[in-house]
C-alpha cells in the first residue's frame, strides 16, 4: 500500500516539476481545444486544487486500516463535465491496488491519461488503461458510474447482462449544490459564493444551483461579487449564448431575473427548480422552517450545502453544511452522494 501512495505523491509533485511544465501546458491546451465549456483559468484551478489534496497523509488517512478483500479490475465511466473530475475515482482504485479500466469523457479526454502517464514515467507499479465504453464491460469485475436516473438505468441493464451483481456496482446520481444565506454574509463569504455558483460555468455535481435567501433580501451584493469573480475566471465563450435564450425566456414569461452585462451569469427568482448551468435560482424563505422544507424536499438531489458559520449552527447536523467557496474544492475523502468509494472498493 505504501508503495502506491509514494508513487501517487511523486506523480503529483511531478506536475509541478520544471521538466513536466511543457507537458502540462500541452495537456491543458489540447483539453481546451475539445468541445467543452472549460476555460484555461478553470482547468488550471482544478488541476492545482485537486493535486493539492493528494498528500501522503491524506491518502493514508483515506484508506486507513481498511484492507482490500480481493484485487480485481474496476471499470470507471467518467462523466467529466468538470476538469479532472474522475481523478478521485482513479486514485481510489489505484490506492486499493485494483486495476483501473477507465472510460473517458469526450469533454475531458486528456487530463486523466496525462496523470497516468506521469505515474508510469515515475515507475509506479499500476494497471491502468482507458477503453471505449462498449469494450469496458468484457474487462471488468466491478463498475463505478455517475449519471441521471435514465443513464444509470441503462448501465444497470448492461451490468446485469455482464453478470455484475448490485454489490459490484457503485452508481451515483446527478446532483448539485445549494447555498443558504441569512443576509449577514461578509465580502469574503460572497466571494466564495461566486466561486460556488460560477466556477466551471455552473457544471459539476457540487456546483451551487440554488441560493436560498431570506424574503426581502435583494441579490444585488451577490451580483456584484459574481461580476468580480468573472474578472478572475472569465466566462467560457459559449456561456452568454446558452444564457441568452434563458434570459429571453424569463423575460418573455415575466419571471424576475438579473444578469451580468455580457450575460456571463444569470439569476432568477422563483420556485426551487434547478436551471441550466450558469443560471442560478434564488429561492426565498420566510422562516427557518421553510429552509428545512425546501432542502428536505430536494435532499436526494442535493450533493452539498454551504452557509455562513453562524447559520450553520442552526441547521441540521445531518446536512453537513460547508463554508462558502468550498464546493469546488472537495477534500480527497469526500463521499459523493454519501457513498464511501474506498469502502466499496475494499468490499469487492
Amino acid at each position: 500500500m505504501s508503495g502506491i501512495i509514494t508513487a501517487l505523491v511523486q506523480a503529483v509533485r511531478a506536475w509541478h516539476a520544471p521538466e513536466y511544465q511543457q507537458f502540462r501546458h500541452n495537456v491543458v491546451e489540447t483539453t481546451l481545444m475539445v468541445p467543452n465549456t472549460f476555460t484555461e483559468e478553470a482547468v488550471e484551478f482544478a488541476i492545482d486544487q485537486q493535486m493539492g489534496e493528494v498528500t501522503e497523509a491524506a491518502l493514508s488517512a483515506w484508506i486507513g486500516q481498511r484492507k482490500v478483500k480481493e484485487r480485481c479490475s474496476v471499470g470507471v465511466v467518467n462523466a467529466g463535465n468538470v476538469p479532472l473530475v474522475g481523478l478521485q475515482d482513479l486514485l481510489a482504485v489505484l490506492v486499493c491496488g485494483h486495476s483501473y479500466v477507465g472510460v473517458l469523457s469526450s469533454k475531458s479526454p486528456y487530463l486523466l491519461p496525462a496523470f497516468v502517464k506521469i505515474l508510469l514515467d515515475q515507475g509506479a507499479d499500476i494497471n491502468a488503461k482507458f477503453v471505449d465504453r462498449d469494450e469496458m464491460w468484457g474487462e471488468v469485475d466491478a463498475v463505478i458510474a455517475t449519471g441521471s436516473n435514465e443513464a444509470i438505468a441503462q448501465v444497470k441493464v448492461l451490468a446485469g447482462r455482464q453478470g455484475l451483481t448490485p454489490e459490484k456496482c457503485l452508481f451515483r446520481g446527478n446532483r448539485y449544490g445549494a447555498a443558504i444565506l441569512n443576509g449577514f454574509e461578509s465580502e469574503s463569504d460572497l466571494d466564495g459564493l461566486a466561486l460556488d455558483v460560477l466556477l466551471h460555468e455552473g457544471m459539476g455535481c457540487r456546483n451551487v444551483a440554488l441560493i436560498i435567501a431570506p424574503e426581502g433580501l435583494e441579490p444585488d451584493s451577490c451580483l456584484k461579487h459574481f461580476a468580480e469573480m468573472r474578472g478572475v475566471f472569465p466566462a467560457h465563450p459559449s456561456t452568454p449564448g446558452r444564457l441568452s435564450m434563458q434570459q429571453a425566456y424569463l423575460a418573455a414569461t415575466n419571471q424576475p431575473h438579473a444578469y451580468g452585462d455580457g450575460l456571463e451569469f444569470l439569476l432568477s427568482k422563483g420556485a426551487p427548480e434547478v436551471q441550466v448551468p450558469g443560471h442560478v435560482r434564488w429561492v426565498e424563505y420566510r422562516n427557518p422552517d421553510e429552509i428545512v422544507s425546501v432542502v428536505e424536499a430536494l435532499r436526494d438531489e442535493i450533493q452539498c450545502i454551504v452557509a455562513q458559520e453562524n447559520l450553520r449552527e442552526q441547521l441540521p447536523d445531518s446536512w453537513n453544511v460547508g463554508s462558502f467557496g468550498s464546493t469546488q474544492m472537495p477534500a480527497l475523502d469526500w463521499q459523493p452522494d454519501g457513498l464511501d468509494t474506498i469502502g466499496f472498493l475494499c468490499s469487492l
Binding site: V103, S105, S106, K107, A151, R172, Y176, Y249, A252
Partner: protein
Amino acid sequence: MTTADIEVRFTDLDSANSASFAAMERALEAYQRQHCPVYQRFGYKYLPVAAFKHAEVTTFPPAEAECVFKSSATGGALRSRHFVRRMAVYEASVCAAFEAVFGEGPYKIWAHLPGYAPESSLICMMKILMRKYGTGESQFFLSKRLPNVADTGTPLLLFGAAFGLLDLAETGPRQLPRDARIIETGGMKTHRRTITRDELHARLAAGFGIDEQRVWSEYGMCELMSQAYTQGGTVYRSPPWMRVRIVDPDAPNREMPDGKPGLLAITDLANLYTVSSILTEDLGVGRGQGFEVLGRFPGSAMRGCNFLLNSA
C-alpha cells in the same frame, strides 16, 4: 397561406413533401410571432416547454379557449396550461395520427390512467379515440382488476401510463388475447425506480402474456396537440405535421447528427394558435426518419455529472 388554410390542410401533409411542411412552419411562426406576446418577446425559435407553466402561451384571448389542458403536477409545483382554441383541430390531429398507425378500427379500447386529472390531454385523447374507434366495451378502468377479457373478436388496445401498467402487470400474471396491443403513454419513472424502455416493454409483454413486439408506445404531452407512436421496438414515428429534431442542449439552434443524443425540439403544426415550435425537456436520439426517447433531461441534468451525453 393563412391559419385557416393550415387548419384545413395540415393533416393532408405527406411526410415526403418537406416543402409543404416548411411553408406551413414559416407561415405559422410568422403568425404566432405577431399574435402571441410571449413568443414575440422570446425571439428564438423553440420556446422552452416550461413557458406553459409560467405564462398564457396563446395567439388569442385565453378566455376564448374551448378547452384548457393541464399537466399533472406533484406537490405544489406549477402545472402547464395549454389553451386550446379549437377542439376540432385537436380531434383532427389525434384521429389522423391514430388512423395512420392503427387504421379505422373498430377496437376494444381500454385506458388505465390512475392519477390523471380529468383536464389532462391524455384523458381527452382517450375519450376521442373511444368515441371514434372504440366499441361499446371500450372503457377507462382504475382498479387493479382488468375488465372482462373475453375474446369478442374485436382486437384490444390497452393504453396506459408506464408505471400504472407495470403495477398492473406485477400484481398479475395476466393474459391478454394474443392479438392485443399495449400502448404505453410514457411516465418511465415508476414509483420505485427508473427503468429503460426496453426493460419496460419486456416486463409488460411478460406480465400480460403477449409478444414484446405488440408493446407499443405513444409520445405526447399536454403542450402539444399531436402524438408520435412506436409500432414495436423503441423508435417513434411522428405524423407528417409534427417534426421532431434533436438539438444540442447547450445551443438549441444546432441540430445533432443522427445517432447523437440531444434535446427533442418539436414543431407541431397542430399547435396552430399557441406556439408550434417547442423545446422539450426530453433527451432523445435521431434514428433515420424516427427518434428514440432516452428520458427526462431538464436543465438541471446538464449540470451534474452524466455520462449519457458525453462518453467519448
